[in-house]
Symmetry: C2
Subunit: 253 residues, 2 copies
Protein backbone atom coordinates (compact mmCIF):
# COMPACT_ATOMS: atom_id res chain seq x y z
CA UNK A 1 0.00 0.00 0.00
CA UNK A 2 2.98 2.33 0.42
CA UNK A 3 3.14 5.20 -1.99
CA UNK A 4 6.87 5.30 -2.67
CA UNK A 5 6.80 8.96 -3.65
CA UNK A 6 5.51 10.11 -0.25
CA UNK A 7 8.03 10.53 2.56
CA UNK A 8 6.99 8.66 5.73
CA UNK A 9 5.28 10.99 8.15
CA UNK A 10 6.37 10.98 11.78
CA UNK A 11 3.93 12.68 14.14
CA UNK A 12 4.32 13.96 17.68
CA UNK A 13 3.10 11.13 19.82
CA UNK A 14 3.91 8.55 22.45
CA UNK A 15 7.35 7.01 22.89
CA UNK A 16 7.40 3.22 22.74
CA UNK A 17 9.61 1.69 25.46
CA UNK A 18 10.59 -1.99 25.10
CA UNK A 19 11.98 -3.53 28.28
CA UNK A 20 14.39 -6.49 28.03
CA UNK A 21 13.53 -7.31 24.41
CA UNK A 22 15.17 -10.61 23.56
CA UNK A 23 14.94 -11.01 19.81
CA UNK A 24 16.13 -8.45 17.28
CA UNK A 25 13.25 -9.57 15.05
CA UNK A 26 10.77 -8.27 17.60
CA UNK A 27 12.49 -4.89 17.88
CA UNK A 28 12.36 -4.66 14.09
CA UNK A 29 8.69 -5.66 13.96
CA UNK A 30 7.92 -3.08 16.67
CA UNK A 31 9.71 -0.37 14.68
CA UNK A 32 7.82 -1.27 11.51
CA UNK A 33 4.50 -1.21 13.38
CA UNK A 34 5.34 2.18 14.89
CA UNK A 35 6.23 3.75 11.55
CA UNK A 36 3.08 2.24 9.98
CA UNK A 37 1.32 4.38 12.57
CA UNK A 38 3.50 7.47 12.09
CA UNK A 39 5.41 7.15 15.36
CA UNK A 40 9.20 7.41 15.55
CA UNK A 41 10.32 7.55 19.20
CA UNK A 42 11.50 4.01 20.06
CA UNK A 43 13.47 3.38 23.26
CA UNK A 44 14.85 0.05 24.40
CA UNK A 45 15.94 -0.99 27.88
CA UNK A 46 18.62 -3.70 28.20
CA UNK A 47 18.22 -5.40 24.78
CA UNK A 48 19.49 -8.95 25.35
CA UNK A 49 21.55 -9.10 22.18
CA UNK A 50 22.79 -5.52 22.31
CA UNK A 51 22.21 -2.71 19.86
CA UNK A 52 22.39 -2.16 16.90
CA UNK A 53 20.97 -5.48 15.71
CA UNK A 54 21.13 -6.70 12.13
CA UNK A 55 18.06 -8.89 12.49
CA UNK A 56 16.11 -5.91 13.82
CA UNK A 57 17.06 -3.88 10.74
CA UNK A 58 16.09 -6.75 8.45
CA UNK A 59 12.67 -7.23 10.10
CA UNK A 60 11.83 -3.52 10.15
CA UNK A 61 11.29 -3.35 6.36
CA UNK A 62 13.26 -0.13 6.28
CA UNK A 63 11.51 1.51 9.23
CA UNK A 64 14.68 1.70 11.33
CA UNK A 65 16.43 3.59 8.52
CA UNK A 66 13.59 6.10 8.28
CA UNK A 67 13.07 6.71 12.02
CA UNK A 68 15.25 8.77 14.35
CA UNK A 69 17.94 6.59 16.00
CA UNK A 70 16.72 4.24 18.74
CA UNK A 71 17.83 5.17 22.24
CA UNK A 72 19.11 2.47 24.62
CA UNK A 73 18.77 2.68 28.43
CA UNK A 74 19.62 0.66 31.53
CA UNK A 75 16.31 1.04 33.36
CA UNK A 76 12.73 2.06 32.69
CA UNK A 77 13.22 5.02 35.01
CA UNK A 78 16.10 6.25 32.79
CA UNK A 79 14.12 5.65 29.61
CA UNK A 80 11.11 7.57 30.88
CA UNK A 81 12.66 10.63 32.56
CA UNK A 82 10.82 13.03 30.22
CA UNK A 83 7.48 11.15 30.29
CA UNK A 84 4.59 12.47 32.36
CA UNK A 85 2.33 9.47 31.86
CA UNK A 86 3.19 5.82 31.30
CA UNK A 87 0.81 3.10 30.14
CA UNK A 88 1.89 -0.48 30.86
CA UNK A 89 0.61 -2.91 28.26
CA UNK A 90 -0.09 -6.04 30.25
CA UNK A 91 -2.85 -8.12 31.76
CA UNK A 92 -4.49 -6.42 34.74
CA UNK A 93 -2.21 -7.02 37.74
CA UNK A 94 -4.21 -8.59 40.57
CA UNK A 95 -2.33 -6.99 43.40
CA UNK A 96 -1.91 -3.43 42.14
CA UNK A 97 -4.44 -0.64 42.01
CA UNK A 98 -4.23 0.79 38.50
CA UNK A 99 -6.88 2.03 36.12
CA UNK A 100 -7.30 -0.26 33.09
CA UNK A 101 -7.99 0.96 29.55
CA UNK A 102 -8.87 -0.92 26.39
CA UNK A 103 -6.58 -0.05 23.48
CA UNK A 104 -9.26 2.14 21.89
CA UNK A 105 -10.02 4.12 25.04
CA UNK A 106 -6.34 4.44 25.93
CA UNK A 107 -5.76 6.07 22.54
CA UNK A 108 -8.42 8.71 23.29
CA UNK A 109 -6.82 9.30 26.69
CA UNK A 110 -3.39 9.70 25.04
CA UNK A 111 -4.67 12.36 22.66
CA UNK A 112 -6.31 14.24 25.56
CA UNK A 113 -2.99 14.21 27.38
CA UNK A 114 -1.08 15.28 24.27
CA UNK A 115 -3.37 18.30 23.96
CA UNK A 116 -2.14 19.23 27.46
CA UNK A 117 1.44 18.77 26.22
CA UNK A 118 2.08 15.67 28.29
CA UNK A 119 4.77 13.32 27.00
CA UNK A 120 3.48 9.77 26.98
CA UNK A 121 5.29 6.44 27.11
CA UNK A 122 3.90 3.03 26.10
CA UNK A 123 5.75 0.35 28.04
CA UNK A 124 6.10 -3.24 26.76
CA UNK A 125 7.73 -6.11 28.65
CA UNK A 126 9.95 -8.95 27.51
CA UNK A 127 8.60 -11.55 25.08
CA UNK A 128 7.72 -14.27 27.58
CA UNK A 129 8.11 -12.80 31.03
CA UNK A 130 6.21 -9.57 30.36
CA UNK A 131 6.56 -6.61 32.70
CA UNK A 132 7.81 -7.01 36.25
CA UNK A 133 5.66 -5.71 39.09
CA UNK A 134 8.37 -3.14 39.74
CA UNK A 135 8.13 -1.77 36.20
CA UNK A 136 4.32 -1.77 36.37
CA UNK A 137 4.47 0.18 39.62
CA UNK A 138 6.22 3.00 37.74
CA UNK A 139 3.33 3.19 35.26
CA UNK A 140 0.15 5.18 35.79
CA UNK A 141 -2.31 2.98 33.94
CA UNK A 142 -2.71 -0.38 32.25
CA UNK A 143 -3.68 -1.09 28.66
CA UNK A 144 -5.31 -4.48 28.32
CA UNK A 145 -6.62 -5.18 24.83
CA UNK A 146 -9.82 -7.24 24.82
CA UNK A 147 -9.17 -10.42 22.83
CA UNK A 148 -10.29 -14.07 22.81
CA UNK A 149 -10.34 -14.89 26.55
CA UNK A 150 -8.89 -18.34 25.82
CA UNK A 151 -6.27 -17.19 23.29
CA UNK A 152 -5.21 -13.63 23.98
CA UNK A 153 -1.42 -13.86 23.83
CA UNK A 154 0.17 -11.49 21.31
CA UNK A 155 3.79 -11.38 20.32
CA UNK A 156 5.69 -8.15 20.98
CA UNK A 157 5.40 -6.81 17.43
CA UNK A 158 1.65 -7.46 17.36
CA UNK A 159 1.12 -5.80 20.75
CA UNK A 160 2.98 -2.70 19.56
CA UNK A 161 1.01 -2.79 16.29
CA UNK A 162 -2.43 -2.84 17.94
CA UNK A 163 -1.56 -0.19 20.54
CA UNK A 164 0.00 2.27 18.08
CA UNK A 165 -2.73 1.48 15.49
CA UNK A 166 -5.36 2.71 17.92
CA UNK A 167 -3.31 5.87 18.54
CA UNK A 168 -3.12 6.52 14.79
CA UNK A 169 -6.81 5.81 14.16
CA UNK A 170 -7.85 8.17 16.95
CA UNK A 171 -6.27 11.11 15.09
CA UNK A 172 -7.05 10.00 11.54
CA UNK A 173 -10.01 11.56 9.79
CA UNK A 174 -10.43 9.31 6.74
CA UNK A 175 -14.11 8.83 5.89
CA UNK A 176 -15.11 5.45 7.28
CA UNK A 177 -17.16 4.69 4.18
CA UNK A 178 -16.49 6.12 0.74
CA UNK A 179 -19.04 5.19 -1.89
CA UNK A 180 -17.86 3.61 -5.12
CA UNK A 181 -16.04 6.06 -7.34
CA UNK A 182 -14.21 5.52 -10.59
CA UNK A 183 -12.48 7.52 -13.26
CA UNK A 184 -15.59 7.55 -15.43
CA UNK A 185 -18.35 9.89 -14.20
CA UNK A 186 -21.66 8.47 -13.06
CA UNK A 187 -24.31 8.12 -15.76
CA UNK A 188 -26.86 10.92 -15.93
CA UNK A 189 -30.54 10.39 -15.40
CA UNK A 190 -31.01 10.84 -19.16
CA UNK A 191 -28.50 8.16 -20.09
CA UNK A 192 -30.04 5.70 -17.65
CA UNK A 193 -33.52 6.48 -18.84
CA UNK A 194 -32.51 5.86 -22.43
CA UNK A 195 -31.07 2.51 -21.32
CA UNK A 196 -34.20 1.51 -19.39
CA UNK A 197 -36.51 2.54 -22.26
CA UNK A 198 -34.53 0.56 -24.78
CA UNK A 199 -34.45 -2.45 -22.46
CA UNK A 200 -38.20 -2.22 -21.94
CA UNK A 201 -38.90 -2.02 -25.65
CA UNK A 202 -36.63 -4.99 -26.43
CA UNK A 203 -38.13 -7.04 -23.61
CA UNK A 204 -41.58 -6.21 -24.97
CA UNK A 205 -40.56 -7.41 -28.44
CA UNK A 206 -39.17 -10.62 -26.91
CA UNK A 207 -42.34 -11.38 -24.90
CA UNK A 208 -40.64 -10.98 -21.52
CA UNK A 209 -43.69 -9.44 -19.82
CA UNK A 210 -46.21 -12.15 -19.07
CA UNK A 211 -49.06 -9.67 -19.09
CA UNK A 212 -49.50 -5.98 -19.89
CA UNK A 213 -50.76 -5.53 -16.32
CA UNK A 214 -47.55 -6.83 -14.78
CA UNK A 215 -45.34 -4.73 -17.04
CA UNK A 216 -45.17 -1.52 -14.92
CA UNK A 217 -44.29 -3.45 -11.76
CA UNK A 218 -41.69 -5.57 -13.49
CA UNK A 219 -40.05 -2.53 -15.07
CA UNK A 220 -40.04 -0.76 -11.72
CA UNK A 221 -38.27 -3.76 -10.16
CA UNK A 222 -35.72 -3.79 -12.97
CA UNK A 223 -35.05 -0.05 -12.54
CA UNK A 224 -34.57 -0.55 -8.79
CA UNK A 225 -32.32 -3.54 -9.33
CA UNK A 226 -30.06 -1.91 -11.89
CA UNK A 227 -30.25 1.51 -10.23
CA UNK A 228 -28.56 0.17 -7.10
CA UNK A 229 -25.43 -0.52 -9.12
CA UNK A 230 -24.97 3.22 -9.88
CA UNK A 231 -23.62 2.71 -13.41
CA UNK A 232 -21.01 5.07 -14.81
CA UNK A 233 -21.41 6.52 -18.32
CA UNK A 234 -19.02 3.84 -19.56
CA UNK A 235 -20.95 1.07 -17.84
CA UNK A 236 -24.21 2.35 -19.35
CA UNK A 237 -22.63 1.99 -22.80
CA UNK A 238 -21.44 -1.52 -21.84
CA UNK A 239 -24.98 -2.46 -20.87
CA UNK A 240 -26.33 -1.07 -24.16
CA UNK A 241 -23.75 -3.33 -25.84
CA UNK A 242 -24.97 -6.32 -23.83
CA UNK A 243 -28.54 -5.72 -25.05
CA UNK A 244 -27.37 -5.34 -28.65
CA UNK A 245 -25.39 -8.57 -28.42
CA UNK A 246 -28.24 -10.54 -26.85
CA UNK A 247 -30.77 -9.45 -29.47
CA UNK A 248 -28.32 -10.50 -32.15
CA UNK A 249 -26.96 -7.17 -33.44
CA UNK A 250 -23.37 -7.76 -34.57
CA UNK A 251 -22.47 -4.07 -34.08
CA UNK A 252 -23.47 -2.75 -30.67
CA UNK A 253 -25.35 0.52 -30.77
CA UNK B 1 -2.29 -12.76 28.57
CA UNK B 2 -3.92 -16.10 27.82
CA UNK B 3 -5.77 -17.66 30.67
CA UNK B 4 -4.78 -21.29 30.17
CA UNK B 5 -7.84 -22.57 31.96
CA UNK B 6 -10.28 -20.97 29.49
CA UNK B 7 -10.95 -22.79 26.21
CA UNK B 8 -10.45 -20.55 23.17
CA UNK B 9 -13.75 -19.13 22.00
CA UNK B 10 -14.63 -19.28 18.32
CA UNK B 11 -17.49 -17.02 17.29
CA UNK B 12 -19.67 -16.96 14.20
CA UNK B 13 -18.00 -14.46 11.94
CA UNK B 14 -16.25 -13.82 8.66
CA UNK B 15 -14.16 -16.40 6.84
CA UNK B 16 -10.61 -15.29 6.09
CA UNK B 17 -9.52 -16.23 2.55
CA UNK B 18 -5.79 -16.06 1.74
CA UNK B 19 -5.04 -16.15 -1.97
CA UNK B 20 -1.67 -17.50 -3.20
CA UNK B 21 0.01 -17.27 0.22
CA UNK B 22 3.71 -17.98 -0.25
CA UNK B 23 5.18 -18.49 3.18
CA UNK B 24 3.87 -20.97 5.73
CA UNK B 25 4.93 -18.48 8.41
CA UNK B 26 2.35 -16.02 7.14
CA UNK B 27 -0.43 -18.58 7.12
CA UNK B 28 0.49 -19.41 10.72
CA UNK B 29 0.58 -15.74 11.73
CA UNK B 30 -2.81 -15.21 10.07
CA UNK B 31 -4.27 -18.17 11.98
CA UNK B 32 -2.90 -16.87 15.28
CA UNK B 33 -4.31 -13.40 14.59
CA UNK B 34 -7.71 -14.88 13.73
CA UNK B 35 -7.92 -16.95 16.90
CA UNK B 36 -6.78 -13.95 18.97
CA UNK B 37 -9.96 -12.40 17.62
CA UNK B 38 -12.15 -15.48 18.11
CA UNK B 39 -12.42 -16.39 14.42
CA UNK B 40 -11.81 -19.90 13.13
CA UNK B 41 -12.83 -20.15 9.46
CA UNK B 42 -9.56 -19.94 7.48
CA UNK B 43 -9.50 -20.83 3.77
CA UNK B 44 -6.47 -20.80 1.52
CA UNK B 45 -6.32 -20.67 -2.25
CA UNK B 46 -3.30 -22.22 -4.01
CA UNK B 47 -0.77 -22.11 -1.13
CA UNK B 48 2.63 -22.04 -2.86
CA UNK B 49 4.23 -24.64 -0.59
CA UNK B 50 1.18 -26.87 -0.28
CA UNK B 51 -0.80 -27.76 2.81
CA UNK B 52 -0.35 -28.78 5.61
CA UNK B 53 2.74 -26.71 6.38
CA UNK B 54 5.02 -27.31 9.36
CA UNK B 55 6.21 -23.72 9.44
CA UNK B 56 2.58 -22.54 9.51
CA UNK B 57 1.90 -24.75 12.55
CA UNK B 58 5.04 -23.49 14.29
CA UNK B 59 4.16 -19.81 13.71
CA UNK B 60 0.53 -20.17 14.77
CA UNK B 61 1.42 -20.61 18.48
CA UNK B 62 -1.06 -23.44 18.71
CA UNK B 63 -3.90 -21.67 16.90
CA UNK B 64 -3.97 -24.16 14.02
CA UNK B 65 -4.44 -27.01 16.52
CA UNK B 66 -7.34 -25.22 18.18
CA UNK B 67 -9.19 -24.09 15.05
CA UNK B 68 -11.29 -26.21 12.69
CA UNK B 69 -9.17 -27.62 9.84
CA UNK B 70 -8.13 -25.14 7.14
CA UNK B 71 -9.82 -25.65 3.78
CA UNK B 72 -7.78 -25.44 0.57
CA UNK B 73 -9.22 -24.30 -2.79
CA UNK B 74 -8.11 -23.73 -6.37
CA UNK B 75 -9.82 -20.40 -6.95
CA UNK B 76 -11.37 -17.55 -5.00
CA UNK B 77 -14.71 -18.40 -6.61
CA UNK B 78 -14.49 -21.93 -5.17
CA UNK B 79 -13.41 -20.66 -1.75
CA UNK B 80 -16.28 -18.19 -1.56
CA UNK B 81 -19.26 -20.18 -2.87
CA UNK B 82 -21.18 -19.78 0.40
CA UNK B 83 -20.23 -16.10 0.95
CA UNK B 84 -22.76 -13.37 0.23
CA UNK B 85 -20.39 -10.47 0.68
CA UNK B 86 -16.64 -10.25 0.10
CA UNK B 87 -14.33 -7.48 1.26
CA UNK B 88 -11.00 -7.20 -0.56
CA UNK B 89 -8.26 -5.86 1.67
CA UNK B 90 -6.16 -3.78 -0.68
CA UNK B 91 -5.34 -0.25 -1.71
CA UNK B 92 -8.23 1.42 -3.54
CA UNK B 93 -8.07 0.21 -7.16
CA UNK B 94 -7.95 3.19 -9.52
CA UNK B 95 -9.90 1.62 -12.35
CA UNK B 96 -12.68 -0.17 -10.47
CA UNK B 97 -15.82 1.24 -8.92
CA UNK B 98 -15.97 -0.19 -5.42
CA UNK B 99 -17.00 1.32 -2.12
CA UNK B 100 -14.05 1.72 0.26
CA UNK B 101 -14.23 1.16 4.02
CA UNK B 102 -11.73 1.83 6.78
CA UNK B 103 -11.08 -1.22 8.97
CA UNK B 104 -13.23 0.19 11.76
CA UNK B 105 -16.22 1.02 9.55
CA UNK B 106 -15.93 -2.28 7.67
CA UNK B 107 -16.25 -4.09 11.01
CA UNK B 108 -19.53 -2.30 11.74
CA UNK B 109 -20.76 -3.17 8.25
CA UNK B 110 -19.81 -6.85 8.80
CA UNK B 111 -21.83 -7.04 12.00
CA UNK B 112 -24.83 -5.43 10.27
CA UNK B 113 -24.61 -8.09 7.57
CA UNK B 114 -24.18 -10.88 10.11
CA UNK B 115 -27.39 -9.77 11.79
CA UNK B 116 -29.04 -10.40 8.40
CA UNK B 117 -27.41 -13.86 8.33
CA UNK B 118 -25.05 -13.00 5.51
CA UNK B 119 -21.86 -15.05 5.32
CA UNK B 120 -18.88 -12.74 4.89
CA UNK B 121 -15.42 -13.34 3.45
CA UNK B 122 -12.30 -11.24 4.03
CA UNK B 123 -9.99 -11.66 1.05
CA UNK B 124 -6.22 -11.16 1.30
CA UNK B 125 -3.77 -11.33 -1.61
CA UNK B 126 -0.27 -12.76 -1.90
CA UNK B 127 2.56 -11.27 0.15
CA UNK B 128 4.10 -9.02 -2.51
CA UNK B 129 1.75 -9.06 -5.48
CA UNK B 130 -1.47 -8.47 -3.52
CA UNK B 131 -4.83 -9.17 -5.11
CA UNK B 132 -5.27 -9.39 -8.87
CA UNK B 133 -7.85 -7.16 -10.53
CA UNK B 134 -9.79 -10.29 -11.37
CA UNK B 135 -10.01 -11.30 -7.71
CA UNK B 136 -10.94 -7.76 -6.70
CA UNK B 137 -13.73 -7.76 -9.30
CA UNK B 138 -15.34 -10.69 -7.44
CA UNK B 139 -15.41 -8.65 -4.21
CA UNK B 140 -18.14 -6.21 -3.26
CA UNK B 141 -16.13 -3.69 -1.31
CA UNK B 142 -12.60 -2.67 -0.42
CA UNK B 143 -11.06 -2.38 3.05
CA UNK B 144 -8.21 0.11 3.08
CA UNK B 145 -6.80 0.71 6.54
CA UNK B 146 -5.65 4.31 7.06
CA UNK B 147 -1.93 4.25 7.96
CA UNK B 148 1.17 6.41 7.49
CA UNK B 149 0.77 7.58 3.87
CA UNK B 150 4.51 7.15 3.31
CA UNK B 151 4.85 3.78 5.08
CA UNK B 152 1.61 1.86 4.94
CA UNK B 153 2.76 -1.58 3.85
CA UNK B 154 1.71 -4.38 6.23
CA UNK B 155 2.75 -7.99 6.05
CA UNK B 156 0.02 -10.57 5.61
CA UNK B 157 -0.19 -11.54 9.29
CA UNK B 158 -0.45 -7.90 10.36
CA UNK B 159 -3.15 -7.15 7.77
CA UNK B 160 -5.20 -10.11 9.02
CA UNK B 161 -4.57 -9.02 12.62
CA UNK B 162 -5.83 -5.46 12.15
CA UNK B 163 -8.87 -6.48 10.10
CA UNK B 164 -10.02 -9.24 12.44
CA UNK B 165 -9.14 -7.09 15.50
CA UNK B 166 -11.65 -4.48 14.35
CA UNK B 167 -14.25 -7.21 13.89
CA UNK B 168 -13.66 -8.46 17.44
CA UNK B 169 -13.67 -4.98 18.98
CA UNK B 170 -16.95 -4.11 17.27
CA UNK B 171 -18.72 -6.90 19.18
CA UNK B 172 -16.76 -6.65 22.44
CA UNK B 173 -18.36 -4.81 25.33
CA UNK B 174 -15.45 -4.42 27.74
CA UNK B 175 -15.60 -1.08 29.56
CA UNK B 176 -13.14 1.21 27.80
CA UNK B 177 -11.97 2.60 31.12
CA UNK B 178 -12.08 0.75 34.41
CA UNK B 179 -11.01 2.76 37.43
CA UNK B 180 -8.27 1.42 39.67
CA UNK B 181 -9.41 -1.55 41.71
CA UNK B 182 -7.49 -3.83 44.02
CA UNK B 183 -8.13 -6.71 46.37
CA UNK B 184 -8.20 -4.39 49.38
CA UNK B 185 -11.39 -2.28 49.61
CA UNK B 186 -11.19 1.50 49.29
CA UNK B 187 -10.68 3.36 52.53
CA UNK B 188 -13.80 4.78 54.13
CA UNK B 189 -14.35 8.47 54.69
CA UNK B 190 -13.74 7.87 58.40
CA UNK B 191 -10.38 6.16 57.87
CA UNK B 192 -9.23 8.92 55.55
CA UNK B 193 -10.42 11.60 57.93
CA UNK B 194 -8.48 9.99 60.77
CA UNK B 195 -5.39 9.98 58.55
CA UNK B 196 -5.80 13.63 57.55
CA UNK B 197 -6.41 14.75 61.15
CA UNK B 198 -3.35 12.94 62.43
CA UNK B 199 -1.26 14.37 59.56
CA UNK B 200 -2.52 17.88 60.34
CA UNK B 201 -1.71 17.55 64.02
CA UNK B 202 1.78 16.19 63.36
CA UNK B 203 2.47 18.91 60.76
CA UNK B 204 1.30 21.51 63.31
CA UNK B 205 3.72 20.11 65.91
CA UNK B 206 6.55 20.21 63.37
CA UNK B 207 5.89 23.82 62.33
CA UNK B 208 4.87 22.99 58.77
CA UNK B 209 2.20 25.71 58.51
CA UNK B 210 3.87 29.05 58.04
CA UNK B 211 0.90 30.90 59.53
CA UNK B 212 -2.36 29.96 61.22
CA UNK B 213 -4.18 31.84 58.42
CA UNK B 214 -2.68 29.66 55.70
CA UNK B 215 -3.40 26.41 57.51
CA UNK B 216 -6.97 25.75 56.24
CA UNK B 217 -5.94 26.33 52.60
CA UNK B 218 -2.84 24.17 52.92
CA UNK B 219 -4.77 21.34 54.53
CA UNK B 220 -7.43 21.57 51.82
CA UNK B 221 -4.71 21.28 49.17
CA UNK B 222 -3.23 18.26 50.93
CA UNK B 223 -6.63 16.57 51.17
CA UNK B 224 -7.20 17.20 47.45
CA UNK B 225 -3.75 15.95 46.55
CA UNK B 226 -3.95 12.72 48.56
CA UNK B 227 -7.64 12.24 47.85
CA UNK B 228 -6.97 11.86 44.12
CA UNK B 229 -4.99 8.69 44.85
CA UNK B 230 -8.09 6.94 46.26
CA UNK B 231 -6.24 4.99 48.97
CA UNK B 232 -7.38 1.53 49.93
CA UNK B 233 -7.72 0.60 53.61
CA UNK B 234 -4.31 -1.07 53.40
CA UNK B 235 -2.74 2.00 51.82
CA UNK B 236 -4.22 4.22 54.51
CA UNK B 237 -2.46 2.06 57.09
CA UNK B 238 0.76 2.29 55.05
CA UNK B 239 0.50 6.08 55.07
CA UNK B 240 -0.09 6.09 58.83
CA UNK B 241 3.12 4.04 59.09
CA UNK B 242 4.97 6.59 56.94
CA UNK B 243 3.94 9.37 59.32
CA UNK B 244 4.96 7.33 62.36
CA UNK B 245 8.34 6.57 60.80
CA UNK B 246 9.03 10.17 59.82
CA UNK B 247 8.23 11.51 63.31
CA UNK B 248 10.58 8.94 64.78
CA UNK B 249 8.22 6.33 66.24
CA UNK B 250 9.92 2.96 65.97
CA UNK B 251 6.58 1.11 66.07
CA UNK B 252 4.09 2.40 63.52
CA UNK B 253 0.65 3.11 64.94
Amino acid sequence: MTNKSTAPQILDGPAVILIDPQMGENIGAAARAMLNNSLGDLRIVRPRDGWPSETAYAMSSGALDLMPPIKVFDTLADAATDCQFLYATTARPRDMMKPVFTGKEAALDMHKRQRKNQKIGLVFGAERAGLTNEDISLCHAIIQIPLNPGFSSLNLGQAVLLTTYEWYQAQDNTDGYQPAEGDSPLASHGELNELYERLESELEKHHFFRSEGLRPTMMRNIRNMLGRAEFTEQETRTFQGIISALIGNKTPK
